[in-house]
Structures are given as C-alpha cells and as structure tokens.
C-alpha cells in the first residue's frame, strides 16, 4: 500500500470522454489531489491514471504518446506501463505513481491518491 489516504472518488465523465490512444490532464482543482494527474485511455480502450509529471524531469505525461497500454514521455521518451506505472526504459529510473480508476456503468471514476490494483 502507498502512504497517505486516498481521496473520495471523482466522476470524470462518461467512458466516451476520451478517444482510445488519447489523454487528459486532470488538474488539482478537479481531483483535490496535491499533484496534477494524467488520465489515459489506452489503445485497448481501458482507462488509467498516473501522476502527470514524468518521474525523470519536468514534463507532462498526458502530452505523451500512447502505444498499446504504454505511455511515452513527450520530452525524453521514457516509457511507462499504464496499468501499474512501471518504468520500462531510461532515462527515467523511477516508476510513475498510479491512481485507481473504476468504470461504473458508463462513468469513469478517479480515486486520487489510491494506487491502482491490477485485476
């Protein structure tokens, strides 16, 4: 378990809110979380959320390139696994923090500060 308590769920919109392969920045004002969060819709159609800032240097992962279930940072091309935040290649060396996403009926719910669990 990660440190800190998760915040209450935030209803971000319908499951059609993003095209597969695209992402959206969820600002702190929306999530209540202390950092910006990136919401990603993988090419598989699944939704995932990570801290938006790349663990390597200041760059916004939600502006990155989605390929399958991976996000590639727009600045120095480190790749991260969307489901679990694992760093897949240099220059980043740390994993990205995940936030739990739950799809309930046709709504996308974000649990800021609660780590994603692999299903």
């Amino acid at each position: 378990m990660r440190e800190g308590t998760g915040l209450p769920a935030v209803d971000l919109g319908t499951t059609e809110m993003l095209e597969p392969g695209t992402a959206l920045l969820i600002p702190t004002e929306t999530s209540g979380y202390q950092e910006d969060i990136g919401l990603f819709r993988a090419e598989t159609g699944s939704y995932y959320a990570l801290d938006d800032e790349c663990p390597h240097e200041v760059a916004s992962l939600s502006e990155g390139w989605i390929e399958g279930e991976e996000i590639e940072c727009p600045l120095h091309s480190s790749r991260f696994c969307l489901p679990d935040g694992r760093v897949l290649c240099l220059p980043a060396v740390r994993d990205a923090r995940t936030h739990r996403i739950e799809v309930r009926e046709d709504r996308v719910l974000l649990y800021p500060g609660t780590a994603a669990t692999r299903t």
Binding site: E57, W65, E72, P74, S77, C89, P91
Partner: protein, 403 residues
C-alpha cells in the same frame, strides 16, 4: 559451453544497458561492470540539470545503488590497464586480474583536443564526465568570462547553462550556423539566434592559439582577432577510447569494429556505445553513433546477441538537446538526397522534414515540437508516405498523419 560470467568494461549508459538487459533477458550467471567512477550515471544532465545544481549525484544515477545488489551486478571500481584476449579478461591498474567468459567493451570516448598550440593546456576545460562538470560548475560564477569552442550540442547546452549561472559567455564556431547536419539549415539558424537573445556573444571563426595569461586565458583566431577570458571550454566532439582494444590486437578504425551483433573481431568480445563502429557484411563502415539512444540500443543488442536471442529492432536514430528553455529533437537523416519541407509558426520554423525523391521521410527535426518527432519516427520506421503540404501545415498534428 554455457556462459557463466560476463564482464562489462565501462559503466556509462551503454555498459549499464548491457547489464540491465542481460538480467532482463534471464541471464543468471556472474555479471560485473568495471568503471573508475563507481555507480553508473547518466551524462546528458552534466551540461544541464547537474551543471545548474538542479540534480545531484543520486539524481543522475542510472539505477539506485540497491538495484545492483538486487540484480547481482557487481560494480568493480577500477581502471583497466590491459585487455588480455588469451586469458579473456582484464588487468586493473592496481594489478587485480578479472576473467570472464564474455567481455563487453563500453569504454566510450574522450573529448577531442583542439589541435592547436595551447589546445593541450591542462587548464583548458572539457565536459565528458561528472568530475569535469564539477570543475566547470565551480568555475562558472556570476560575471566570469567563459569562452566555449564548438557550438555543437554540448557547446550550446553549456553556453545556455553558464549564462543561467551568470557567466559572460562567448561561443566560437567555424561554421555559421552550426548543427545544420543535425537539424537542417532553417532550424539551425533559429537555434543559433537563440544564443544571441540569451546574451551570448557569437563568434564565427577558428581559434589558432590558446595561451595562459595572468588571470585566465587568451585565444587568437585565424583572422587575427584575440579574445581574453577566464576559462576556455572545448566541445568539438570525442575520440573513441580504443587504446586497450588496439593494444590487444582487436580490429579498430576510428572505433572498435563490430558486426550487427556488436561482436568484435574476437567472437568472445563485444563492443557497444560511443566507441563501437559497425562494419557491414560488405565491409563498408557505418559512422559511429555518438548519441544517447545509440548507446542504449547497442547495449540492448549486445545483451541479446551474447545470450543468442533474437536481436532487438531499432528504428531511425534519435537525439534531443535542451537549451534556453527549448527542447530540440531530431530523428533519422537530414542530409541524404531529397528535399526539406518546413513547418512554420508565424515566421519561425518549428519543424523540418527531409523527404526522399519517392516521398519517403528520411529525417525530421523540431524545436518544442511536442510529439512531432515521435510521430515522424513512426512515419520513417513504417515508411508511411505523407503529403508534403500536410507536413507543412501547422494546423495538422503530425500524430494524426502517423497513425
């Protein structure tokens, strides 16, 4: 015979990648990296975040210290003085000998000295490793006068960082603008002008002499001009560190010659990164790749080849540079036969695409282009034909053209 031990000589990005990939690919035998510097670190920040004090030693490590224990990678701190191809191992400066079933040379390069009188002065600075960066940072105080010879990637990045640290910077290059082979004429011109906007003095010329003065240094240029300054930094490229390999009788030619497996003329010895140079099956030689990604790619290839696994496929070569708050990227080749299409934002060129006569994209470069180069990379690697007018249109996201 199964491989029970692998020794990587050199702990830069290429050497580290070999070790990382060997473990990721399931190699369970002994694995060591020899390097005088200890824990492997990333070099790109040396001219930027590390020089500026925004990242410390731990912040540029390629992996945290515990990674090596977890993955049973032994770090041997030491300098190799001899490569022994009979014994298949190395001899360190302190007399220790280390043997392994496979050796990987990842000795990198050394700054190319300026071949002029005074170019070999010990006080002339270069930037290649962390110690160089520490020296440069200590000397780069507000108001100090720094002359940088060579306005390539490192020269330009140091100029930007030194300016941020308050130095009075003069950037000298014989070519105006520099970097055309990497990014094309239009972007090179715009990038060079950014130095002026940052308050850097640009000098178009060639130094012919460097001498020490009472307080610093003096340079003389080929047109007779002289420039006084406190410190001189030379950034005109590297020479591959092949002395060990040459002394051991391995084939070199401005680089350690390797095949597509990164294997040298000795089948038990591999070479990766800046110091390796690919010899094609027909005997022709590729240029040495001196970029960050090339080091990583060749390391990944060597690891696969050593374990006799399928070789990874690498796409068009890619590089980046960060200076003056802008991010520059390039991919592929901007110099082959073909035509260049520019994408403008207002009057400023923001991207250049180099197209072959048959319409295939050969190379691309951008300034703050977001995903432009990522998309161009896919276009190049997949041979996607994109109409030049779409490339020129800043209203069309390149990502759409690449899918």
């Amino acid at each position: 015979m199964s491989i029970e031990s692998i020794l990587v000589i050199g702990g830069g990005l290429a050497g580290f990648t070999v070790a990382q990939n060997l473990r990721a690919r399931g190699y369970a035998g002994a694995l060591s990296i020899i390097d005088p510097a200890g824990i492997p670190y990333d070099r790109p920040p040396l001219s930027k975040a590390y020089l500026l004090g925004q990242k410390d030693t731990a912040g540029i490590a390629l992996a945290p210290a515990e990674w090596y224990a977890e993955h049973r990678v032994e770090l041997i701190r030491g300098t190799v003085r001899k490569l022994d191809t009979e014994y298949l191992g190395v001899e360190l400066a302190d007399g220790r000998r280390v043997h392994a079933d496979r050796l990987v040379l990842a000795t990198g390069g050394s700054p190319r000295p300026l071949p002029i009188p005074g170019g070999d002065l010990e006080t002339v600075l270069a930037l290649r490793n962390k110690e160089d960066a520490d020296v440069l940072r200590e000397k780069t105080t507000p108001g100090m006068r720094l002359v940088i010879v060579g306005a390539g990637l490192i020269g330009a990045e140091v100029a930007s960082s030194a300016r941020t640290l308050g130095a009075e910077v003069t950037l000298i290059d014989p070519v105006d603008p520099p970097l055309v082979p990497a990014v094309g004429q239009a972007l090179a011109r715009r990038l060079h002008a950014m130095h002026l906007d940052a308050g850097i003095t640009l000098v178009h010329g060639t130094p012919v002499d460097i001498s020490k003065t009472t307080h610093g240094h003096s340079l003389i240029l080929d047109d007779g001009r002289s420039i006084d300054c406190d410190e001189v930094l030379v950034g005109i490229g590297i020479v591959p560190n092949t002395a060990l390999a040459q002394a051991a009788g391995l084939e070199t030619e401005n680089g350690m010659l390797v095949d597509e497996n990164q294997r040298t003329s000795n089948p038990l010895i591999y070479a990766v990164g800046d110091m390796a140079r690919t010899r094609n099956p027909d005997g022709s030689l590729e240029r040495r790749g001196e970029h960050w990604e090339y080091a990583m790619n060749t390391g990944a290839t060597a690891a696969a080849a050593i374990l006799e696994q399928e070789l990874p496929v690498h796409g068009a070569s890619w590089f980046w540079s960060d200076r003056h708050g802008t991010h520059v990227e390039g991919v592929g080749d901007m110099n082959g036969v073909g035509a260049t299409v520019l994408r403008l934002a207002g009057e400023d060129p923001i991207a250049a695409f180099h197209l072959a006569e048959d319409g295939r994209m050969l190379g691309a470069a951008s300034i703050d282009g977001g995903l432009t180069i990522r998309a161009a990379r896919r276009i190049i690697d997949r041979g996607i034909i994109v109409p030049p007018e779409s490339l020129a249109d800043p209203g069309i996201a390149l990502k759409k053209l690449a899918r």
